[in-house]
């Protein structure tokens, strides 16, 4: 094992003990059926009130904080787009030193950073890498809606292959997004931090418990959350959770954890075909059968790669059995 990860402070949530805590109030201005704000609310339920949030510029920042009203019930700070991990670093360092100097009342608050996929995979990747590498005790949550939605659905490096956005339009010379989605969880895991996970709000207990693990461990944690954007993806507003589940069932968005360097994959033995996932979204409507076949193959290959990494990380006694 690369890291000893102490999960002794982990407090599991069960179907009967789901917190009703509202870190974010009603009256926010997210679009109808926004799964990003829903996922954020789930994270806040799992975290509770003893937390300080740093939020990157983006949809969630905009819809929760237009002056003079705030949806936040916890201390919250927005500075800019690319620097949320650095802001969180400063908050964490200040909390620790103030705790050491006896200036904090009560238990040291958790530090939570939120960024969208643009803030995480693109403009904020450097600051994220720095904060993970330095080992700050904080949890970074990427709410991945797979494009720059706040500015009008432009492609990011997290936009999936084939997707139509306003800057990856399909055309006679274009399939839409021509690149495969950047694997930020793998980049986070490459920092050898104690905890990395992917999560989907369709699997809400799993999501909340991953957040609970992330805040329980000492050191940096990264959670990559799949966050359906009905507006940007071209689905009906009621379909966000259905699609969140489908992304997992088709292996488009596999759920896994990397604990102390060890991959733990939630196995999906009978995956649904990817076409089921693609066909209900307007952003993929232009894809041909051949395109869909290609995507299916690549999804299968990526899943197999993940499964292989997960099997590599078998319990220690088996590893020694060579």
């Amino acid at each position: 094992m690369l890291n000893e990860v102490d999960l002794s402070k982990y407090e599991k949530i069960t179907a009967k003990t789901i917190p009703t805590e509202k870190g974010i109030s009603s009256g926010h201005r997210a679009c109808q059926g926004c799964v990003e704000i829903l996922a954020m609310g789930m994270v806040m339920k799992a975290v509770g009130r003893n937390v300080i949030v740093a939020n990157a510029t983006g949809c969630m920042e905009i819809v929760t904080s237009p002056f003079p009203q705030t949806a936040w019930n916890v201390p919250w700070m927005h500075v800019a787009f690319e620097n949320t991990s650095a802001v969180a670093s400063g908050i964490e360092a200040a909390l620790k030193i103030r705790e050491k100097h006896g200036k904090l009342k009560g238990e040291r608050p958790k530090v939570l950073a939120f960024g969208g996929d643009g803030a995480t995979a693109d403009i904020g990747l450097q600051a994220l890498s720095g904060a993970l590498e330095r080992g700050h005790d904080f949890t970074y949550v990427c709410l991945d809606n797979e494009a720059y939605m706040n500015t009008g659905i432009q492609r990011s490096s997290s936009t999936p292959y084939g997707a139509m956005t306003t800057t990856s339009p399909p055309g006679s010379n274009s399939i839409g997004q021509s690149t495969w989605k950047k694997n930020v969880p793998a980049i986070a895991a490459a920092h050898n931090i104690p905890y990395v996970a992917t999560a989907s709000p369709g699997n809400y207990l799993d999501l909340m418990n991953k957040v609970r693990k992330a805040i329980a461990i000492d050191g940096p944690a990264y959670i990559h959350i799949y966050a359906v954007c009905p507006t940007g993806w071209g689905i009906k507003s009621e379909k966000g959770i259905e699609l969140s589940k489908l992304a997992v069932k088709t292996n488009v968005f596999p759920l896994y954890e990397v604990i102390g360097g060890k991959y733990i994959l939630k196995e999906n033995k009978n995956p649904k075909p990817v076409v089921d996932y693609l066909k209900i979204q307007r952003r993929f409507r232009h894809l041909s059968e051949t395109d869909v076949e290609y995507i299916q193959k690549r999804v299968d290959a990526e899943y197999a790669h993940l499964a292989a990494m997960a099997s590599c990380a078998a319990p220690e006694e088996e590893e020694n059995d060579e």
Partner: protein, 96 residues
């Protein structure tokens, strides 16, 4: 003071911070709604999944054990109806 401004600069909190947590609740987003959920209490098993999956955080458990939305905030997205395991919630045009 100009009518174009919300308040005088002297009345702003330090750094234009907002010091009233959760004040967004003053914004009643219910008027964004064109379709409204309604609950069939015969079918409802009071599982509360609708509460967990409401993006408006506006569904709460009532004294009778049923989970109902606060229509002041419900934007009518329909996730609760779509996800209800017993099809106890239906979306319909509201009579206003």
């Amino acid at each position: 003071m100009s009518a174009k401004a919300l308040m005088a600069w002297q009345d702003l909190a330090l750094g234009t911070a907002i010091c009233e947590p959760g004040s967004a609740a003053k914004l009643k987003t219910g008027d964004w709604r064109s379709m409204a959920p309604s609950l069939d209490e015969e079918k409802c098993i009071q599982c509360g999944i609708c509460l967990i999956l409401c993006p408006e955080f506006c569904i709460s458990e009532h004294d009778d054990g049923f989970f109902r939305p606060d229509y002041d905030y419900c934007k009518g997205c329909g996730i609760c109806a779509n996800e209800c395991p017993k099809d106890a919630i239906t979306m319909g045009r509201e009579e206003k």
